[in-house]
Symmetry: C2
Subunit: 328 residues, 2 copies
């Protein structure tokens, strides 16, 4: 603690997901000195989530040989609608009791004894890939995060593009007018076909309607309560008709949505991440790339399509980039 110079160069990063909280402490060169993973509370209030986040970061700081109050700051990638100026998070629907607004930034700052910056989870993960991952070689890119939902992040001319705060909703670009109902309430969005939650809901309806599928059996054998990425992967590997049909539809939807975005933005690269994206890996990135080709405007140059490079810690690393080591 006497070496204040060193301590103030360390930063924290927290990725707040629907299933897990990933906390890390990094040094000036973004090397991970400590990390901790906690399950996200599935019941309770936003204050319970904040307490769990503070607990995870405290452990990561201990592992890094410091205390949270000694950090230059902590960045947080959060779902929901973010007010970066006040640190308030609203409508984080996958988190318990979080329909309204909650001052996550101030609450964490109080618990951790350092300043806290909050950003949108997928925007933060996209910035992480741009600065530290497979996006480093590009000046413009689109991040597509294929998981429970389908999120996106945009970097243009080396800078994140956030619009009025909500930019990047590639999961809610329309690929079939009058098509399948999306969890967002609209019809025909990419997420209605490719989001893990939407695919699960659709599959359960099909199974209840009498369609044969091993998805439930696989879920039970893995002692899960949901069709997780691992469940989908196992079902596709054993050739389950329904799973193959839905994952094929997801690939086609992601390809059409990403191609539309590239026709509009003409970025250099598309970076694919998210729970399903990372789980299905390079082969499926190549399948998404081919699905994009049939919808890319003929005059355009095909962008590079790459799998995220930072793996599981990408969200937390991107979050840590929200704060500067010098406390600026």
């Amino acid at each position: 603690m006497s070496d204040t110079g060193r301590a103030s160069a360390l930063r924290g990063g927290i990725d707040l997901g629907g299933t897990k909280i990933e906390a890390i402490v990094v040094d000036r060169d973004n090397r991970v000195l400590g990390s901790s993973r906690h399950p996200t509370p599935t019941a309770g209030t936003p204050a319970d989530v904040a307490a769990e986040m503070a607990g995870a970061l405290t452990e990561a700081a201990e592992q890094a040989g410091t205390a949270t109050g000694e950090l230059a700051g902590v960045g947080v990638g959060s779902p929901g609608a973010i007010d970066a100026a006040t640190g308030t998070v609203s409508s984080a629907r996958n988190l318990p009791g979080w329909e309204g607004a909650y001052p996550l930034g101030p609450e964490l700052a109080r618990r951790l004894g350092t300043r806290v910056a909050i950003g949108n989870d997928v925007q933060v993960a996209t910035a992480g890939e741009f600065r530290l991952g497979v996006g480093r070689r590009y000046t413009s890119l689109l991040g597509v995060f294929w998981g429970t939902g389908v999120g996106g992040g945009i970097v243009l001319d080396g800078r994140p593009w956030r619009g009025r705060g909500g930019a990047g909703e590639i999961g809610h670009t329309v690929i079939r007018r009058g098509g399948r109902r999306c969890p967002c309430g609209n019809e025909g969005c990419v997420e209605a076909y490719a989001g893990r939650a939407a695919m699960e809901a659709h599959a359960r309806r099909e199974i209840e309607g009498g369609r044969k599928s091993d998805l439930l059996k696989i879920m039970e054998s893995k002692q899960r309560e949901r069709f997780t990425s691992a469940v989908w992967e196992a079902a596709v590997q054993r050739g389950d008709d329904l799973a193959v049909e839905l994952i094929d539809g997801a690939v086609a939807a992601l390809g059409a949505g990403a191609a539309s975005a590239c026709n509009l933005l003409d970025v250099e690269a598309v970076v694919i991440g998210g729970g399903l994206g990372v789980r299905f890996g390079e082969d499926y990135v190549e399948r998404i790339r081919r699905a994009m080709e049939s919808h890319l405007f003929p005059g355009h140059t095909m962008p590079d399509v790459r799998l995220v490079g930072l793996g599981d810690l990408g969200g937390a690393l991107g979050a840590a980039l929200l704060v500067d080591a010098d406390g600026a």
Copy 2:
């Protein structure tokens, strides 16, 4: 000609369209001092088009009391693929003999005796609306030009976004996977449903297949050879079933495509222009706005949706902005 200071503050602008060439000369405050409109040659070579463009600008300059060689420069908005650095235009498919590349900039510079800057027609028109038209109050906007095709222009944070040169192809965002064939060769693009040329091709097939419609009769009564914007307007006004159905489909397609773009970019405003956009006017801008609402991501704030403010001269005014009065 003795007042060199005044003369060098004048600039030219040329909007090169598939049916007409619009040329203007403006002063430092972008007031139009002279203008001329020529039909675009429908046969011949790119050199014939360049000669016609030079002729139109020469007349506009005379009307402004100057000569083209006295202008600070001339900006051109052109269809096709533009190489702004060399002034080359390629693949301008609506123009005669223009499948390959043609050095339009150098050729016009030689004929006019001043420097020439070339930009993409819809990007230039969007920049015109942003600087001088209804876009002035915004820092970010999407221009949607509903005409023979459906083109788009993007302004983000006060600056045009061109990607690698091809950004803005909102007409080729996918709104129906596996849907109607688009003139670009892909399936289900916005332009396949909303482009004037695609709607005409579809309507002619329907009529040949026995569907009743007054579109051909209206076209003949107006002594046109194509279903122009005026033909569509007249047919819709008299309640022609086929015309109403196709224009309704165009509105829905434009709404879905614009909403997708707004979900991705979260811009402050959408500006609607183009031959059909200007012809159908405010009522249809409102219809497009309503069609967007059903596809806008629920967490987003609806952008303003406005009709272009510069009218017929918008493209030429935007083109004139490509050159600085000071010769910079």
